[in-house]
Every structure is written in C-alpha cells, then in structure tokens.
C-alpha cells in the first residue's frame, strides 16, 4: 500500500541519492492526491502516473535531396486514476456502451522545475479523477443490470514494488554526416521510370520514462533506437500499387549500415520492385504453403500473438479463442512460443520489442505461451484473465493511451527442423499429393489484421508482399504478386507440418487499442499443409501519363 516510503526524500536502495525531478514531482502529486481524496466520496484506491519524453531526429531524403529537419523534444504525462477495488474498478471494460480508445494525457514543460511539473501533473490527475468518477458510475450500473462476468482482476497485485532509477540513454548521431549518404542513396531511386515514389529516412529517438504509482513503484528507464527505413513504390499497368520497404533498426549508431550497404539494399529492393511489376497476378489458391523469413514471424504475431493478449481475452465481446485451453495442445508438438521482452538481441540483431519495464511499472518478463505445442498461459498486464494470474510485464501503450496487454518479442522455436531446401522439396511433395501444379512460398509479409471479436468471422487477412510459385515439375520458381493470405486461426495452426530454418527477424511496429508500440517477431520457416489466398485489393489508377523526368546523376547535391 501507499506508505511513507513514497516520500521522495526517503527513497533508498536502487534509487539514486539525488532525487530525480520527474520522479519527485510524480511522487509528491500522486501522494497528495491520495491523501486529499482519501476521505471523499468515490475516493481512488490507486493512482499511477508516467512521464514519457521523446528526443527525436528524423531526416528524410527523396530523389537526391533532403527535406528540412531539426531535432525535437516532447514530454508528456499520462495518469491512471482507479476508483473501486482490485476486483472491479473504474477502468473495467464497459458492456452497455461501446468505447473508442481515447488519446489523453498532457504535454509537460521541458524543465526540471519540480513545482512547474507538479502543476501540470495536478491538472492531469484532476482531469482523470473526474473521468474515473463518471466511468465508475457506468461500471457499477453494468454490474447491477447485466449478467455476471467471468472472474479476473482489474488490477492484479504485484509481488513487490519496483524502485529503480536506471541510466537514461542519450541520442548520439551526427546528423550532418548522414545528409550526404541519404541524398546519394535516395538518388538511386530516381534513376528510372519504374519507381513512382521512393524515399529513405534516418530516425533516431530516445524514449525516457518515469513511472510512479500509489502502491510504491518508482522507476526510471529508457530505450533508444536508430533506424533507417526505405520505402519504394510503383504502379503496374493494371493499377496495382506495389510497395516495398526495408528497415535497418539498431540501438547503436555504430551498427547502422554503411552507405554502401544501404545502396546495395536499396538496389535490391528496386530490382525486386521491377520484377514484381512484371510478375503475374496470383489467382486464388488453396493448398500447401511455406511461410519463410519475416513472413512466418509476422504471421505468428498477427494470428497467434494477438490471441494471447490476456486483456483481450477477458472482454465479453471477444471470441476468447484460447481462454479455456490452457494445458491443451494448440500447436504441433515440435513448436514452442515465448514472448520475451527482456531479450535485447538475437543472433546479434537488436530486437525492437525489448524493454525493461512495461507501462504499468512492472518488470518485463519472459512469458511462456506454448511449450511443445501445449498452451501454458497468456501475455498479462495487471488486468488479468483469471483471478490467480499476475502481470508478466506486458502492459504497454503509446503515450496518451491506456496500457493493455501487448506483445514484445514473440519468438517461435522448433525442436525439430529441416533445411529450407528440404522444406521446399516437402512443399513440392505436398502440392503433388494435393494434385496441384505448384505450392506457394511466402517470402515477405507487410502486415495484416485479424478479427477477434464475437459477431464477426474470426478470420485473418495477411498482406503478402513477396511470394513464389514452387513448381512440382521442377520449373524455376516463379515470382507472383497480388495476394492476401486468408483463413481462420485454429485451422491454420492445426495444419502446420514442418519447421525449416530461421532466417530473419521482423522488427516493426504494432498498432492496437493502446496505440503503436515497437515489436519483434521471430519464427522458423513453416510448411502449412493448407492455406488459402485471395486477390489483393487493387488500385484503379493508371500509371503516370507522361514519362518520368530524365535522371541526371550529376544533379545530385554532393
């Protein structure tokens, strides 16, 4: 419970001797609000507040020239005020009305002046208190009028409160030194008529967080990321817009690719785009398929991972696919799945889904989801699926949103696997056995969506970027375009037959109820006995009427 330990001047142990002004301001205002409101009607039983600060630099280049840029710093406070008790409180999902996630919070001044910080934190606590009171009345009304819900806590207790003040990583990037390489590499994309639009950008951002709760948690931590992203698109004669992108993400500027590596990557992307533009459109297909490289990771993130997010599983409007299947086999016995945000790297590749504390001040922990095919548990925030559950540090959010259970680093491993050459042969064999002339090999997936709510088909639709036909008769593999992968999750998982090699890590962003968060997904190539594709939504615009301007490499600013 909230106690004298929370006084900023009494905190000891892992907290530094000099009080951090952000932590101090948060602690004083959270304590003050709890004290002042203790004797009032509908007093909160829990208050948490988090300050997040982003220092960022974004440089974008197109066609051999730069857009304007400058570093930015933004600081923001989010507050969570709860009325009720752990079993049922004002944050509980409403059943009588639908709600859209709202972007809340308040911008904070960029100062260490504690009294100024306190002023704005007070404003936010006050505003959230009023909101919590209104919401608490609706939650109580739901409980009175509607049927009973399955149990689960709205705020599971923590075994201990974290008190830690970690060093905050600072940005270190020589923006000027990157101008030339970005200009020159972007100019590659302006060299012919295939590319309609192409850009390359460097982004560097540090994210600092200070979290305090009325239970006694007080943590300071941060993460940093440097990434280079290139996007390129073209439009085929039939109106299909083809878009490809590549991201190099790292936590150290020293590990960013060299100009030569970037140029190679961009040229490869360009060549693939040109090939895709000429590739035939794949007709609807049902049969064996291999998901390889990033495709397998993204597939698991979208289709499996989102169904493991505990908070989603307790909503009454959710189909709760796996809620009652703990201890049952849901995947082939050679597959295991863990979500481990504590993992900073894999095979020397920095993982974007790594963090130390989640947005509820809970230490990140590996969550074993599936062991040898058997469901072990779920990703948990402090709003748990069952009364006995506790958070495993997966309550995440973008600033302004309320934290919900989210994935971090989703890692699928196979206890037995074959080489990818062998996997390709097995794909041919499976296609032949199905009487098909070819099987499909999915190399890359852009993203997708899946419905998890009741009242609509619990299907998925995954946007395929790159796929090949693997011909049974041994013809060369053939690039195809224009397909989405569709199906339903339980059937899809039951048809996984063989695992292949693990090639690439997917480092990306995931958008859901609590906004965009960085994630990683890793999986071996997987042969699935039967999956279905449908034609991708297609644009109706024609390619540009006039030829592209002549490229003149000499026009590039040195």
């Amino acid at each position: 419970l909230f106690g004298p330990l929370l006084s900023p001047f009494l905190i000891s142990g892992a907290l530094a001797s000099t009080p951090d002004p952000m932590l101090e301001a948060l602690q004083v205002e959270v304590q003050r609000a709890m004290d002042e409101l203790a004797q009032t009607e509908a007093a909160p039983y829990f208050i948490a507040a988090e300050i997040s600060q982003q220092n960022a630099l974004y440089i974008n280049a197109e066609d051999g020239a730069l857009h304007g840029y400058a570093p930015t710093t933004r600081r923001h406070v989010d507050v969570d005020v709860r009325i009720g008790d752990r079993e049922l409180d004002s944050s509980h999902a409403l059943r009588s009305t639908s709600e859209r996630p709202r972007n809340l919070g308040r911008r904070l001044p960029l100062t260490d002046d504690v009294s100024l910080l306190r002023h704005d934190i007070w404003r936010e606590i006050d505003a959230r208190l009023l909101g919590a009171r209104k919401r608490w009345a609706k939650v109580q009304s739901d409980r009175t009028v509607l049927v009973a819900e399955s149990p689960g806590l709205d705020l599971a207790p923590l075994p201990s409160q974290s008190i830690e003040q970690l060093d905050l990583p600072e940005l270190s990037v020589d923006a000027t030194a990157w101008e030339g390489p970005l200009r020159r590499v972007s100019a590659i994309l302006a060299q012919d008529e295939i590319v309609r639009d192409g850009a390359i950008s460097l982004s560097a951002a540090s994210h600092h967080s200070w979290f305090v709760s009325s239970e006694g948690t007080a943590v300071r931590h941060g993460r940093i990321e440097y990434s280079i992203v290139t996007n390129v698109d073209t439009i085929a004669d039939d109106g299909t817009v083809l878009q490809l992108s590549r991201r190099w993400a790292t936590r150290s500027p020293d590990k960013l690719p060299s100009e030569e590596e970037l140029a190679t990557g961009v040229s490869e992307l360009h060549a693939l785009l040109a090939a895709l533009r000429e590739a035939p459109e794949q007709e609807p297909y049902s049969g064996p398929m291999v998901l390889s490289d990033r495709a397998a990771g993204v597939f698991f993130h979208e289709i499996f991972g989102h169904r493991m997010e505990g908070q989603r599983l307790k909503r009454v409007d959710n189909a709760q696919t796996f809620t009652d299947m703990v201890g049952e086999a849901i995947l082939p016995p050679f597959l295991s799945v863990v979500d481990d945000p504590t993992l900073a790297q894999l095979d020397d590749i920095d993982l974007r889904g790594h963090y130390v504390y989640d947005n509820e001040g809970v230490p990140a922990q590996p969550a074993v989801l599936v062991d040898a095919g058997v469901l072990q548990g779920f990703l948990q925030s402090r709003s748990t699926v069952r009364p006995e559950d506790v958070s495993n540090g997966h309550g995440r959010r973008a600033k302004g949103m309320a934290p919900v259970t989210r994935q971090g680093n989703l890692i699928v491993t196979a206890s037995s696997s074959v080489s990818n050459d062998r996997l390709k042969q097995e794909l041919r064999n499976a296609a032949r056995a199905s009487g098909l002339p070819y099987g499909l090999w999915i190399d890359d997936i852009q993203g997708g969506f899946t419905f998890t709510n009741r009242g609509m088909p619990n299907a998925f639709n995954v946007n395929v970027l790159v796929a090949h036909r693997i011909w049974v008769d041994g013809r060369p593999d053939e690039l195809v375009r224009g397909i989405d992968l569709i199906g339903t999750p339980l059937v899809a998982f039951s048809r996984i037959q063989t695992a292949g090699e693990r090639d690439e890590v997917f480092n990306g962003n995931c958008g859901a109820e609590s906004g965009w968060v960085p994630v990683s997904a890793v999986a071996p190539a997987l042969l699935v006995a039967q999956l279905e594709t449908q034609r991708k939504a297609k644009g109706q615009n024609t390619p540009p009427l006039l030829p592209a301007p002549d490229a003149d490499p000499a026009a590039v600013v040195p």
């Binding site: 002042e36 066609d63 911008r107 001044p109 960029l110 009427l545 006039l546 600013v557």
Partner: protein, 543 residues
C-alpha cells in the same frame, strides 16, 4: 471562353528563384502534353513557399515546445474546361488540387519528379471532377458564372530578401512572458507562444504569370485563465503581430502588457455575476476595430461559395455579401489597400496569391457597400479580380482582407465623445457604461464574447465584469453606432486561414485593421452564459 493575355512585364534580370524555371516548365508541359481522350488542360498553375519558421511555446516560465526548420509546401492545380471548369466543385470526393511537400534543396530532378506525379494526379482528378460537375450543374435552370476570370499576365520578382529569424529573442520572450504570468500567482494556465515565419512565395501559371514574393511575420501571443468554483472560465489573450521580431514592441512593453492581462483576469475572476445587460456599450482600442473586423469585413469578401450540385447560383448567393447593402451609417467609409501597410506591420502585398496586382478598393462609401474584395473567381456582378486572393499555400484561396481602414463621417473630440457617452448612458437609465476592450476570437459574422469588460462609472471608477455573451448581434448592429471618437487605432491581427474558420491564437493570415479609437453602440444585449466547466476537485499545488 478565350483568356485574353496581357503582358505587363516588370522584367527581372534573372529568375528570382532557381526552381522557377522548373515550375514553369511543368506548367507548360501540363497544358501542352496532358490529354485523356478529348480532354486536355485549359490552364495550370504550380506554386511553393520556401519557408523558414521557428515556433516556441512556453507555460508558466518553461518551454513546452520549441522547433523550427525549413519546409517547402507546394500546390499544383491542373484545370479542365472553359467557362465552367473542373475547379472548386463542392460535391466531389476528388480534389484536383495537389499539395506536395517538396524537398528543401534546389535539386531540379527531385522537384521535377514531384511535379511529374502531382500534375498527373491533378490532371486526372480534374477530368473526373469536370465530368461530374458538368453533369450536375447542367441540370440546374440558371447558369453559374464562369469559374475563372481573365487577368493580365504578370512577371513580378520581389527582390526583398527574407529577414533573419531571431530565435533567441523568441525563446526568451516566451519564457519571460509566461514567467510573468506564473509570478502573478493564482492563474491556472499562463502560456506564451512566440514564432516567426519567413516565406519566399514562388508561383507560375500557364497564362504567363510568374511571381516571387517575400513575406514574413513575427507573432507573440499570450493567454491565461482561471477556473472559478462555479465552473466559469475567466480568460483573456493578447497578441502582437509584425513583419519581424525587430518591428514588434520592445520586450519590456510586451511583458508589461502580459502582466496587465494577468492582473485583469485575477480581478475579473472575483467579480460578481451580471446575469443580463441591455444598454449602450463602449468599444475601446482593439475591441473598437474588432467590431468592424467581425461584423463588417465578412460582408465585404466577394468570392462566391463553391458550386454545389443541388443548388443554383442564386440559392448559393442568397446569404452572401452583396453590393448596395447598407452596412453603416451615412458618411462611413471602408477601404482595403494591401499596398499601404503601416511600416513594420505584416499583411500587405503588391501581388496576391494568383499573381494579380493588388488594388486599393473602396468597399463602403457613405455607409453602403460599393465593391467587394475579389480573387480571380468571379461572380455575375463582379467579373474581375482586384488582387485580394489570399490563403495558406495548401489551403483555401479566396478574397480576403489585408490592410483596411474604417473612417467615420465625423470623429468626436475627447470631450464631445465623453459627453455623448454620458448622455447615452443617462438616457438608458444607467449611471455607468459597459466598456469592452478585448474580444474573444470568433467566426464569420458573429461577434465573439468580450474577454476584457468592465463598468465605467461617471467618476471614472472601473469595475471588472465577469463573462458575458452578446445576444443576437449581426451586421445590422453597426447601424446602431452612436458615435466614434477622433483618432485612429491600429490593430494588427491574424485572420483565420479561411473566411469561415475561427482564428487561432498564433497562426493565420496577418492583417491590419485601422479604425476609430472608440466606438459607442447605442444598445446591445448581453447575458451571463454560466459556467460550463467542471471545477477542480484537488487544490492546485504551490507554483
């Protein structure tokens, strides 16, 4: 319709911007080379702004945001059709105006590639919109006027360099100004925004117009509030607008006025509620000019609304500004002259957004509307531009005010004016007069609520008045003006980017209103709107 081209050349020795030839080349190519079946462009234009900006926001003595960099927002429009063309159609999902954000470096290829894509988009959208618009408007009984008017082709290259931005000054005034509000104590918000924007505008059109123009503005905007326990938010703002930081008032003057604003808010926050007032109102200073800004200027903007498929031109024009309307009492005049900006103030120009030479326009004469401000979009009764097209580069372009002056038939001297005020109050049965010195920002045709109002007793005592809203005020209120004082008040301000929007505090189109220092309106009605905010539950921490 065949556009007549005049060429009035103010020939510069070389293009004022290295990318002007690229713009002009694509405008020419667009007209000559784009073709879909039998459709080809009738006209085309492309523009961009080379913009340097620095924005600072501070709250209670600390920066909340500070950023500034170079951008190059652009606008490309290809038009299909003749008298009735593809532009400005309201009932369409497709907007043929493309709004690229160009790279900021002068690389011909990069700009060309953006123009290649944006002209392609704009032309195709124009063909689609033209067919939809033609089909819809052809079914209406009465024709709309042409969508575009002829204007002499101009080549005008403004040699004025863009002024430098004094970033440290902007930073300091925001921090110090908001610190002043913090030091006053008791305020809930105390914010200061300071920014400066410098633009070089580059425009090229297929009728031969080529233009470069330099604009700049520096703004300081401060606002503060108190939330009373009855839920009434008491607030006020003050704003300074000039061409550059150097032309703004001295920092000491700004800080003093910010402090005075904070003190007024404090005073008003404890004022007693006046639930209803009916009687004479004295507008002073900024509020005196704002009375015309909000009630008269909207009646002088001539750009017609965009055509709609379901409405005839006459239906569309029913509530629009019109010539011949009596707006003010006998003898009053209003003139707008963009070429006559007071020294150091922003909002003036010699060529408008469409490259048309700006003209001084006698808008109101002897109280009657004689003319309207026009862009190149004509009406049946006004068929030519008078060089007043304004708007954000990527927003709505329409005829807008710039540097305007209101002149009464006769301004009263100080003593005569005071006697008139006293007599008017006495005739209304009151021993006091309601004085308004500052108004909230407002929408077209609506007089916003006073943010600085007080009673002035006959002995000169001033008593702050809590929030009041005007009731049923429109342009006809201007005919109830009883007297205007001698002397001019100059009011620089930021108008909203579009005529139907509400002004923002620290961004918009700079303009200057000049009018009498004090205006007495014979009778107005104001009511207490009541508090609409939830009071705070927690006490504020010490600040």
């Amino acid at each position: 319709m065949i556009l007549l081209l005049w060429l009035t050349t103010v020939q510069a020795e070389e293009p004022a911007h290295p990318l002007l030839p690229v713009l002009s080349d694509w405008v020419e190519r667009s007209v000559q080379e784009y073709r879909l079946e039998e459709r080809s462009p009738s006209r085309a234009s492309a523009a961009f702004v080379d913009r340097d900006a620095h924005w600072v926001e501070a709250s209670m003595g600390a920066i909340t945001s500070e950023q500034g960099w170079r951008t190059r927002p652009g606008r490309v429009e290809i038009v299909v059709g003749e008298d009735l063309d593809s532009s400005r159609y309201r009932d369409s999902r497709t907007d043929p105006v493309a709004r690229p954000n160009f790279v900021v470096e002068n690389v011909d290829l990069a700009i060309s590639r953006d123009l290649w894509l944006t002209t392609d988009y704009s032309f195709k959208a124009a063909v689609e919109q033209f067919q939809i618009k033609t089909a819809a408007l052809d079914q209406l009984g009465t024709p709309y006027p042409p969508d575009w008017s002829a204007s002499p082709a101009e080549q005008f290259f403004d040699p004025t360099p863009r002024p430098a931005i004094d970033r440290p000054w902007l930073h300091d005034i925001a921090v110090q100004g908001s610190e002043v509000l913090r030091q006053l104590g008791g305020l809930r918000n105390g914010r200061v925004y300071a920014n400066m924007v410098t633009d070089q505008y580059v425009y090229s059109s297929s009728d031969g117009t080529q233009l470069t123009r330099t604009d700049s503005r520096a703004v300081v905007y401060a606002w503060a509030d108190v939330l009373r326990e009855d839920g009434v938010q008491v607030y006020e703002y003050v704003q300074w607008v000039a061409e550059t930081v150097e032309e703004l008032p001295e920092a000491e003057v700004i800080l003093r006025d910010i402090r005075r604003m904070g003190e007024r808010i404090q005073d008003r926050s404890t004022a007693s509620v006046v639930s209803f007032y009916e009687g004479p109102v004295l507008f002073e200073g900024d509020a005196a000019v704002d009375l015309f800004r909000f009630l008269a200027i909207p009646e002088l903007l001539g750009t017609p609304p965009r055509p709609r498929g379901q409405k005839t031109y006459d239906q569309q024009m029913r509530n629009q500004p019109r010539k011949g309307r009596r707006l003010l009492g006998a003898g009053w005049e209003i003139v707008d002259d963009p070429t006559d900006a007071p020294r150091g103030l922003a909002g003036g120009f010699s060529r408008d957004r469409e490259g048309v030479q700006a003209e001084a326009v006698q808008l109101v004469e002897d109280g009657y509307v004689r003319d309207l401000l026009m862009s190149r979009v004509p009406r049946h009764d006004l068929t030519a531009s008078n060089g007043h097209c304004r708007g954000d580069i990527q927003g709505v372009w329409e005829a807008r005010e710039s540097i305007w002056r209101v002149t009464p038939e006769r301004g009263l001297g100080e003593r005569a004016f005071a006697r008139t005020v006293e007599r008017t109050a006495r005739e209304a049965g009151s021993d006091r007069i309601l004085v308004i010195r500052n108004l909230e920002r407002g929408r077209k045709g609506d007089l916003p609520s006073p943010t600085d109002a007080f009673w002035r007793l006959t002995d000169g005592t001033e008593i702050p008045v809590l929030a009041l809203d005007f009731q049923r005020v429109d342009r006809r209120t201007l005919r109830d003006i009883v007297a205007a004082a001698d002397g001019e008040h100059v009011r620089p301000y930021l108008a909203p980017y579009t005529s139907t929007a509400t002004a923002k505090g620290d961004r918009g189109l700079p303009a200057v209103g000049i009018g009498p220092e004090r205006i007495l309106v014979g009778e107005m009605e104001l009511v207490f709107p009541g508090g609409n905010r939830q009071p705070h539950v927690l006490e504020p921490p010490p600040l």
